[in-house]
């Protein structure tokens, strides 16, 4: 972990772009302050030597043999009824009844 790393304004702008968020200038400043404060706190994880520790993504990673039932169980791969299209489209911001409509994607 980079000890003296500070999140700069341009970092906040870059992350916001990656996250599809459009922040106001005031929000950008506030987020920069908060991210730095939280990440400063997170750097205490560096106190721990973890080079030989396997990352744990899921609880099932640590429940070894004998915990067969704790592992994810996939259902059989077969066709089943799906949600009713009309009901799904009823909640869409814009639809032609069959498809979701969005602003033009390709410029001519």
């Amino acid at each position: 972990m980079v000890e003296n790393e500070r999140v700069a304004t341009e970092d906040v702008v870059r992350i916001a772009e990656l996250a599809n968020l459009e922040l106001t200038a005031a929000e950008t400043a506030r987020m920069q302050r908060d991210l730095n404060s939280i990440l400063d706190y997170v750097t205490q994880l560096n106190e721990l030597e973890t080079s030989s520790v396997e990352p744990m993504a899921q609880v099932s990673d640590v429940l070894g043999a004998g915990a067969e039932n704790a592992r994810p169980a996939l259902r059989e791969d077969r066709v089943m009824p799906c949600l009713d299209r009309q009901r799904v489209m009823a909640s869409a911001p814009e639809t032609d009844g069959t498809f979701f409509k969005v602003p033009k994607v390709i410029e001519r």
């Binding site: 990440l39 994880l45 949600l83």
Partner: protein, 481 residues
């Protein structure tokens, strides 16, 4: 001004189901009682975001009609319940406490809720919460905060603040909440009710608005451990619609619940009684542990040495997963779409900017940052490694003990606005609860005392993976000390 709302005690699940079967009370009467409480108090408390009076009363009448035929009633027949607004129910709005889902009418029902309905529960409505379950005070709800029934100037805890307050105020006999870092246990502690964090995979998350998928759980609130155990027994179990739900058989949680703690080994970790713990909370929890000892439990010191790293680990992992899960809110399929945008990217950006609140944006940004190129190993991978160390602490401890006892939260309920300016300070409200989510173990918060100001204090009982029966047995004993 400090205001406590009038106390009312609703009947227990047993009393209601038996009364309805015998005809001494009715499901309609129970639902009316709850709606009367909601009408009287919820303008102040604000625990419900929507109510469904018409369907609830029709359902209650249906249960009463079944009761007169003399057929055996299901487990939760006629029990008035509320559902945290992060679980979808066909026919009810689902907001997740966010403007971005305002007006959304989900076309399906979450499995946990489906099981309640099949067991005869009467659904009153949807309960207020922090936006996308992100918060520890319920002040992040886009629809306004919930207030604590014990002192309306104070928060009910979060994120399932509405679920806890509704039970505390006698507006529902039991409720469902969700817990990603303490969101069931901490509000249960603040509101003086029982809240249960089931083991990871114990309850289906199909139909739960996802926050952090390796941490999220669905669990019950009730006035007593017995009632909470009953509700968990109904909602637990494998669901083909949730690949992370476990096929581990669901035991009868009531079978040994009143066996007492004599002969049980209960662990007490010093790491949960250090700096930052309010003296009144410490005193109440330590007194409870002492009484459990007198009741025959063997109190065993256990060490959970990585505890102090839990909050930073949690906020890296939870925000990383949240940034991915919340990518789906883009103004295309449901919810808010910003008007008058010219391009697809512009529509995404403006819809998310206008639809999400500040805390949600903060967490999406943090999660995006820790997953971004150049930072992934330093933050996300590091946090996953520490997560394993934290989990191994618990696995070692549970070799020696049947359950672990800690405070649920470092303080009793704090005042509205007290921590809203400082996200770090708010995150520390979860210091004793995030560990169980990271490790996948189960737990509960059970009331164990009150502060001098009359605010509830909860004791946290942690159990090993699928060790809910031991947690309930200890919790039931705590209520009887």
């Amino acid at each position: 001004m400090t205001t406590k709302i009038s106390a009312v005690k609703l009947p227990s699940i047993n009393e209601l189901v038996e009364g309805i079967a015998k005809g001494t009370t009715s499901a309609v009467e129970a639902a009316r009682l709850c709606f009367r409480r909601i009408d009287e108090e919820d303008a102040t408390i604000h625990s419900f975001l929507s109510i469904d009076r018409e369907r609830a009363m029709a359902r209650a009448a249906e249960i009463d009609a079944n009761a007169t035929t003399g057929e055996a009633l299901p487990m939760l027949a006629g029990i008035p319940m509320g559902i945290k607004d992060v679980l979808v129910v066909d026919g009810m709005p689902a907001t997740a406490g966010s403007k971005i889902l305002e007006g959304y009418q989900p076309p399906y029902t979450a499995t946990a809720v489906r099981k309640l309905i099949d067991a005869g529960a009467v659904l009153l409505g949807k309960l207020n919460c922090d936006e996308f379950a992100m918060g520890s005070s319920n002040e992040n709800s886009a629809y306004g905060p919930v207030r604590n029934p014990y002192d309306t100037e104070r928060v009910p805890g979060g994120s399932s603040g509405g679920s806890a307050a509704a039970v505390a105020a006698g507006m529902a006999v039991a409720t469902l909440g969700s817990d990603t870092g303490g969101s069931i246990r901490q509000p249960a502690s603040f509101c003086g009710v029982v809240g249960v964090l089931p083991t990871y995979g114990r309850v289906s998350r199909y139909g739960l608005v996802a926050f952090a998928s390796s941490l999220d759980r669905v669990g019950p609130f009730a006035a007593t451990v017995l009632d909470a155990a009953k509700v968990l027994g109904v909602v637990a179990g494998h669901d083909p619609m949730d690949a992370t739900s476990s096929t581990e058989p669901v035991p009868d949680y009531l079978a040994e619940i009143d066996k007492g703690v004599a002969g049980m080994r209960l662990g007490v970790p010093p790491e949960y009684f250090g700096e930052g713990l309010d003296p009144e909370v410490r005193a109440a929890v330590e007194a409870t542990i002492e009484r459990l000892k007198q009741a025959g439990a063997e109190i065993v010191p256990v060490s959970l040495p990585h505890t102090r790293y839990a909050v930073p680990t949690y906020y890296v992992i939870a925000t990383a997963e949240a940034s991915a899960n919340l990518a789906r809110f883009d103004g295309v399929r449901y919810g808010y779409r910003a008007p008058n945008t010219q391009t697809l990217a512009g529509m995404y950006h403006c819809s998310r900017e206008g639809g999400f609140g500040a805390e949600v944006k903060r967490r999406i940004l943090l999660g995006t940052y820790v997953l971004s190129a150049g930072y992934y190993d330093a933050y996300y991978r590091k946090a996953q490694q520490v997560r394993r160390l934290l989990t191994e602490d618990f696995l070692k401890a549970f070799d020696k003990v049947d359950a672990i006892l800690t405070p649920t939260a470092p303080t009793s309920a704090f005042k509205l606005g007290e921590k809203t300016d400082n996200p770090m300070e708010m995150y520390l409200a979860d210091i004793y609860t995030v560990t169980a989510n990271l490790a996948g173990i189960c737990g509960a918060s059970v009331p164990c005392g009150e502060s001098r100001a009359g605010l509830p204090i909860g004791i946290q009982i942690l159990g090993k993976h699928f060790g809910e029966s031991a947690v309930f047995r200890v919790g039931h004993a705590v209520e009887r000390l």
